[in-house]
Symmetry: C2
Subunit: 196 residues, 2 copies
């Protein structure tokens, strides 16, 4: 009886972990098996088995898919984004990743300086705007948790409203599961005439 109970509990734990795994990878397609293993407190092998059962491809494949599904960004040149663009639906949402290097941090404590996190979020907010020229009019940012050198910051931008030239974009940045930044950017699209 004990063995069955443990098996049932194990089965339930596995089911819960796999549900979580799907949620994690939906939010953050770049999480490595090692990172997932550390998050769940299981072995890397277990994560690989989970992915195999769930038919979730490996990191390299997930990145390729994300890159292929990209539609062209109009408001920024490709090297003008701060961070690496992983996915974008212009006019709707986008995802970028920024690796925090020691140069981005205060030397005293290797905590990332706010303006780098702001730059990632703000440039992603601009990138999702469906216009040739887009300028940020206002920004409200909460730095929820310190980020340190070596961290991978995944920012996710979502258009939350649009009225005429004015678009409000909400950005949430995470390191693994921890929300480190929440921002609201009001971006104005300039028409071709405005810009002449």
């Amino acid at each position: 009886m004990l063995v069955i109970t443990i098996m049932a509990r194990d089965g339930q734990a596995k089911h819960l972990r796999q549900q979580e795994l799907i949620r994690y990878l939906t939010n953050n397609p770049l999480l490595k098996d090692e990172e997932l293993a550390a998050l769940f407190g299981v072995s890397i092998q277990t994560i690989r088995l989970d992915r195999s059962e769930l038919q979730i491809p490996e990191l390299r494949e997930r990145m390729k898919t994300a890159l292929q599904s990209r539609r062209p960004v109009r408001s920024l040149a490709s090297d003008e984004l701060v961070g690496e663009l992983l996915d974008i639906e212009v006019g709707r949402c986008g995802v970028s990743m920024l690796k925090i290097t020691p140069e981005m941090c205060f030397r005293k404590n290797l905590v990332a300086r706010g303006h780098h996190l702001f730059a990632q979020a703000n440039s992603l907010a601009v990138a999702v705007i469906d216009a040739e020229v887009a300028l940020t009019g206002a920004a409200r940012v909460l730095f929820k948790h310190p980020v340190t050198a070596g961290d991978l910051v995944l920012a996710r931008a979502t258009v939350s409203s649009q009225q005429g030239h004015k678009t409000v974009v909400r950005v949430v940045s995470r390191v693994k599961e921890t929300v480190i930044l929440e921002g609201t950017f009001t971006v104005f699209a300039l028409s071709e005439e405005d810009n002449q």
Copy 2:
């Protein structure tokens, strides 16, 4: 009579201009004679005469005075500030200048990207905090006017409230007389113990 009227009017205009000149240079000690001449629509020679009458030293001297009156910044290493520190009273206020280079701008229209203006304002807000370690918790920024390559941005930070570890710093950045950014930064000072 006409000559006297014109002379009186000229005298009044000069008085008003000199009052404005004092105000401009108090707000922005880095304005060049050329820039002031353009602002008032008078010759550079007129500005020089005004300065001489008002005993306002030349730019180089004004910069030197600003730099000498500086008190040591604790929260940032000297090269960690974005922009050049012109004046600071730790715990109260500070002034910095950032020259906008083409690399800081969108290539399409040479308009400065918001995160550079944010970085100047945010790092100045951190610099005025009287603590070894200070981290930004929240920021609210309005980008009031586009800034272009070649512009000199003067940011002025003032501590507007302080409660325990939490300091609210208000930053206003200008290009000449135009306000281009208004920001409110909530900065948290970390005690030595917090940081260990």
